[in-house]
């Protein structure tokens, strides 16, 4: 049995996440360098796409769908988990002071808890989603960049499953006044302008990018210094990094 046979044998287990954490991590680290496994994993995912629907549906409690919509929109929803402590807090307050005062306090407390919980839930969801790109990155590319005396770099984590990249630009000073750092996608149809990158020696820039809405297959990326306000379809300024995937 070769080392690769283990990965072949455990592709489905990786997709359905039955591997223990260390083996799951080992498999994830193998993927960027193995096109065969990447393709097979993607195929298994497509084939099993509907498997979760084998579970019987659960009717939502009254009002839940409205709460979920409000929560997704950033207008926080109430979690039953937090209602219990809030209600207990209300009981203590009622016993300790005037009823009306206590009700007002509890309502205020509930509102604060609700808002804070909603905010934290959303932030956590976003953070997990971002971490997923790192975890699922099938390709990782790095380029060293020198700007003056400063040495930094560009790192791209490409998640082929969601077609998104996490991009980190670190160690680079801000460009000269009147200039900006510009990120470009390299496609087989030419360069496609993406976003400006705010650089700073001690403040790495972190971006999550989807693929450009332009014809052509994305083949890589480039970072250039452009005149501020420029909207030229292609790079005009000095190229800092050029990375092919």
């Amino acid at each position: 049995m070769t080392a690769h046979d283990w990965f072949i044998e455990h592709r489905t287990a990786f997709v359905i996440r039955t591997l223990p954490p260390d083996e799951e991590r080992n498999f994830a680290e193998h993927l960027p360098g193995c096109a065969e496994c990447r393709e097979e994993v993607a195929r298994i995912e497509r084939e099993l796409a509907w498997l979760p629907m084998g579970v019987a549906p659960v009717s939502p409690r009254p009002g839940l769908t409205r709460e979920l919509v409000q929560g997704a929109l950033g207008r926080s929803r109430t979690s039953g988990r937090w209602m219990v402590p809030a209600a207990l807090a209300a009981s203590v307050a009622l016993a300790a002071g005037a009823w009306i005062w206590a009700v007002a306090q509890v309502r205020g407390f509930e509102r604060v808890v609700r808002q804070e919980h909603g905010r934290l839930t959303q932030e956590l969801a976003m953070a997990r989603d971002t971490l997923d790109i790192f975890r699922q990155a099938a390709m990782v590319r790095h380029a060293t960049i020198t700007m003056g005396e400063k040495k930094g770099g560009l790192v791209i984590f490409a998640d082929e499953r969601t077609h998104r990249w996490n991009v980190v630009v670190y160690g680079l000073p801000a460009p000269d006044p009147g200039h900006v750092c510009q990120f470009w996608f390299i496609t087989d149809n030419g360069m496609v302008r993406s976003v400006e990158v705010k650089t700073g020696v001690n403040t790495p820039a972190f971006l999550t990018l989807g693929m450009p809405n332009a014809p052509g297959r994305v083949m890589g990326a480039a970072l250039t210094v452009e005149a501020a306000g420029s909207s030229s379809p292609g790079p005009q300024g000095a190229e800092l990094a050029h990375v092919m995937m």
Partner: protein, 217 residues
């Protein structure tokens, strides 16, 4: 425990290939429209997605977490991600609802794999001999009219076709989020047997579900 099929009252099975094609085309168009409206930040589209998807998402999360409040939180996380990131979703690589289901299941597994939750669940499984079959929940009288029921039936049929010992490991692995070694411990069988049963089961499931992979609700 062997899963049994829910009653197929009022099954929306197509009466012929033409009906199925018509239904699929209609729903593909509807899903494309829904996604376009979500990208355009149409809150009504979000409400429609939540209405259709929530029972299935709750089913997945609750089966894995055995906690209704926590299941609702996981569903909230998944819907929030979809609302905020739908413009990054590539329709060519899959369907909207499977994407949402996958996010929900991954979130549930992440929660389950925190050491504390995992121990709790393992203890519950040992104490109660399992949590029962997630796919044998009570069926409401109008369940067959629920959007997605035809997909559920197709998946259910694929699961039902598995031998009982393979169905059991699929239930523990996929629908309750246990790892290979936890399943081996739970069923008191060798780790290699777990892996073999899962491999055989998923080979069959992949073949069985291949015909519906392009379906939509």
């Amino acid at each position: 425990m062997a899963p049994t099929s829910p009653p197929l009252r009022g099954s929306p099975e197509p009466s012929g290939p033409g009906d199925e094609r018509d239904r699929r085309l209609l729903t593909v168009a509807r899903e494309a429209s829904l996604q376009a409206r979500l990208i355009a930040r149409d809150e009504q589209a979000l409400a429609e997605l939540v209405e259709v998807a929530t029972p299935w998402l709750l089913g997945v999360a609750q089966a894995m977490l055995s906690d209704r409040d926590e299941a609702e939180e996981v569903v909230q996380e998944a819907l929030t991600i979809v609302w905020r990131r739908v413009d990054l979703f590539d329709q060519e690589s899959g369907r909207l609802l499977p994407w949402l289901l996958r996010i929900t299941r991954n979130r549930a597994i992440d929660r389950l794999r925190s050491a504390r939750r995992h121990l709790q669940k393992a203890r519950r499984l040992v104490a109660h001999g399992g949590l029962g079959d997630p796919w044998t929940s009570a069926v409401e009288p109008d369940e067959s009219a629920r959007p997605g029921w035809h997909v559920h039936e197709a998946v259910h049929a694929a699961l039902r076709s598995l031998p009982e010992e393979q169905r059991e490991v699929v239930r523990l692995a996929y629908f309750e989020g246990l790892t290979h070694s936890e399943i081996a411990s739970q069923l008191e069988i060798p780790l290699g047997t777990v892996k073999t049963r899962l491999r055989l089961a998923f080979d069959k499931l992949r073949a069985g579900l291949d015909s519906i992979r392009d379906w939509v609700l």
